[in-house]
């Protein structure tokens, strides 16, 4: 649901003139400062506190960075992280393969095609991920009951292989569709596809070559954004994987925390949060600057 507000959409709304003459007297400004300070405390406080928690949780040991140095030796973290990164790469690949031809076709095609595709890509928003998981869960149970005598059984078992669960890949692609479609589509809107294609074809390029060598390079920014969003989604994903019994990154953090004193997993989660946010911030800042002039929010 949260993904309805695409990360980069409202940032692009150019600031209107409404700001200038609101400074009427001292009271509202005092109120504004108070609001901003309280907000800053609330949003930054937990991050600072959890950092202090990781370096100074045990009064006997005092100030120590051991939680951070243990990250490299703690059991199970690397396999979990590898699984998450592998799934993320595969998800991004599948999302691109499915969506890039679609956004190009939608841009060139009829309005009806567009509304169909938009509807289909927004469908996952009305099925919360836990409900999707429940559906997948029941499918897997039926499969275990009815498929063994059939030739599909091998494929079915392979799909649930713990080292690369295709079933998670499918769920992640579905979950990434709404945000990725919005991002790629607004990226396509910013370029004049028709003119670019005509120009390329007048210069003798075939349609496929024109798309690969002319359209795709122009879509690079939007592809980067969609890829980053998908990466963040997969790295943080907990619902589907935990219920279906896999242990990617986020699930490892929670399980690890239940087992030991929690400073190491808190440190890991803090680092992952910082890295994700840094990537997304860089993306939204650069994306916002570039697109500010061209398009309005997609919604």
């Amino acid at each position: 649901m949260a993904s309805v507000s695409a990360l980069n959409s409202p940032t692009t709304a150019a600031p209107k003139a409404s700001r200038s003459s609101r400074r009427s007297g001292g009271r509202p400004r005092f109120g504004r400062t108070a609001v901003l300070v309280i907000a800053a405390l609330y949003f930054i406080g937990p991050l600072v506190c959890s950092f202090l928690f990781t370096v100074d949780s045990d009064p006997a040991k005092g100030f120590t960075f051991s939680a951070y140095s243990q990250i490299f030796s703690v059991a199970g973290l690397w396999p979990a992280l590898q699984l998450s990164l592998l799934l993320a790469a595969a998800t991004i690949l599948v999302v691109f393969l499915l969506l890039i031809p679609t956004v190009i076709a939608v841009r060139l095609g009829s309005p009806r095609l567009r509304s169909v595709v938009e509807f289909v890509c927004m469908l996952p928003l009305v099925v919360p991920s836990i409900a999707l998981t429940a559906g997948i869960n029941i499918l897997l149970r039926w499969g275990t009951e009815y498929l063994p005598p059939t030739p599909f059984w091998v494929t079915f078992v392979d799909m649930q292989n713990g080292s690369f669960p295709v079933i998670l890949l499918l769920a992640y692609v579905v979950m990434a569709l709404p945000l990725a479609f919005r991002t790629l589509d607004s990226g396509m809107r910013a370029i004049d596809v028709r003119t670019l294609l005509e120009a390329a074809q007048n210069n003798g390029a075939g349609r496929a070559r024109a798309i690969v060598t002319v359209i795709l390079p122009n879509l690079r920014g939007a592809m980067l954004n969609a890829g980053m969003l998908t990466l963040a989604l997969v790295l943080g994903e907990f619902t589907v994987s935990s219920i279906l019994g896999y242990t990617p990154f986020a699930v490892w953090i929670v399980n690890g925390n239940a087992a030991d004193d929690g400073t190491v997993t808190t440190a890991v989660s803090l680092i992952s949060l910082m890295l994700t946010w840094a990537a997304l911030l860089v993306m939204s800042v650069s994306g916002g600057r570039r697109k500010a002039a061209s398009n309005k929010p997609a919604t």
Binding site: R32, S110, A134, G135, V173, E198, A250, V254
Partner: protein, 307 residues
């Protein structure tokens, strides 16, 4: 592709050309469909199958080795007893958290919009975009380290003695605000930008005070955005699972429908519990559809004021 055709089509050649153009445009339309086909197929399989299975499962019985048959028992079970408590708990938590986040988000957005500092605006918008979409497990951990039983503030301020507990509905609500307020800021800032200076000046010229301006001009204009934002926040809080599960554990003491579904799916106690979990999922989908049905028109309506 040729938009300007210097040679007017005449005679047989013209007919041939127009036929060719027709054929090429047909081919292009077909190419569009073909390009979209993989996506549609994928969604039909990866999304459609689980969705249909969920709907089918919530209306049928399940017992190993016996044929399943049609029933509404799962749905009525999902709306009674502990399951109903969980559904109501989710609705209550989401509604209250969304309401608080709507008010606080509006205040924060107004503070940002009226600020002179362009940097502040960009910082808050970027941070909001990030915070609104990605929290989950790390967010829960940050709050556990801060306000949990062994949390920094809990220990230093002796909050447990004062009756503080992070692991109940109040605590969850406090954590949910961390991603709900940014979501509200994102939703309402475009609307605040749409409030024109002239309206305020016109109100002042007619003798309206600050309160009257907000009561009779600004809030009525903002109402669709605020309502739409509230509904969106509600849906977002309602569907949240990871944060709650990481904080209180699946099937913990807090009655939430997402935790209840997870507990029923994982537990091997009762085979039929899975089908009740499917029925609960269907309840969630119905509520999400309602949320969307309210949100989309409101969103379109509020877009009217954004020039």
């Amino acid at each position: 592709m040729s938009t300007i055709d210097p040679l007017a089509p005449t005679g047989a050649a013209g007919a041939d050309r127009s036929r060719r153009r027709l054929r090429s445009s047909l081919r292009k339309a077909a190419a569009g469909r073909v390009a979209v086909l993989p996506l549609l197929l994928f969604v039909a399989v990866a999304f459609g199958l689980p969705a249909v299975a969920m709907a089918y499962g919530s209306f049928t019985t399940y017992a190993p080795g016996q044929p399943s048959h049609y029933t509404t028992g799962n749905l009525s079970a999902s709306l009674s007893g502990g399951y109903l408590t969980a559904l109501l708990g989710s609705v209550k938590l989401s509604a209250i958290a969304a309401l608080i986040a709507t008010v606080l988000g509006l205040l924060l957005a107004q503070a940002v919009v009226t600020s002179r500092f362009e940097v502040l605006r960009h910082a808050v918008l970027s941070a909001s975009g990030v915070l609104a979409n990605f929290g989950g497990v790390p967010l829960a951990f940050a709050f556990i380290a801060t306000l949990g039983n062994n949390g920094l503030l809990t220990q230093h301020l002796h909050l447990t003695a004062a009756g503080w507990n992070l692991y109940d509905l109040t605590g969850l609500g406090l954590v949910y605000l961390y991603f709900l307020i940014p979501l509200m800021v994102l939703t309402v800032i475009p609307a605040l930008d749409g409030l024109r200076k002239q309206w305020r000046e016109a109100a002042q010229n007619n003798g309206a005070g600050l309160w009257q301006y907000w009561r009779y001009v600004a809030l009525p204009v903002l109402t669709p955005s605020l309502l739409g934002g509230f509904v969106l926040l509600f849906g977002s809080a309602f569907a949240a699972y990871a944060t709650a599960a990481a904080m209180v554990g699946a099937g913990g003491a807090v009655p939430l429908i997402t935790l209840q579904i997870a507990a029923s799916l994982n537990g091997n106690v009762d085979a039929n519990a899975t089908n009740v979990a499917l029925a609960m999922s269907l309840d969630m989908v119905v509520i999400s559809v309602l949320v969307m049905a309210v949100y989309l028109p409101l969103q379109r309506r509020s877009a009217r004021w954004l020039v």
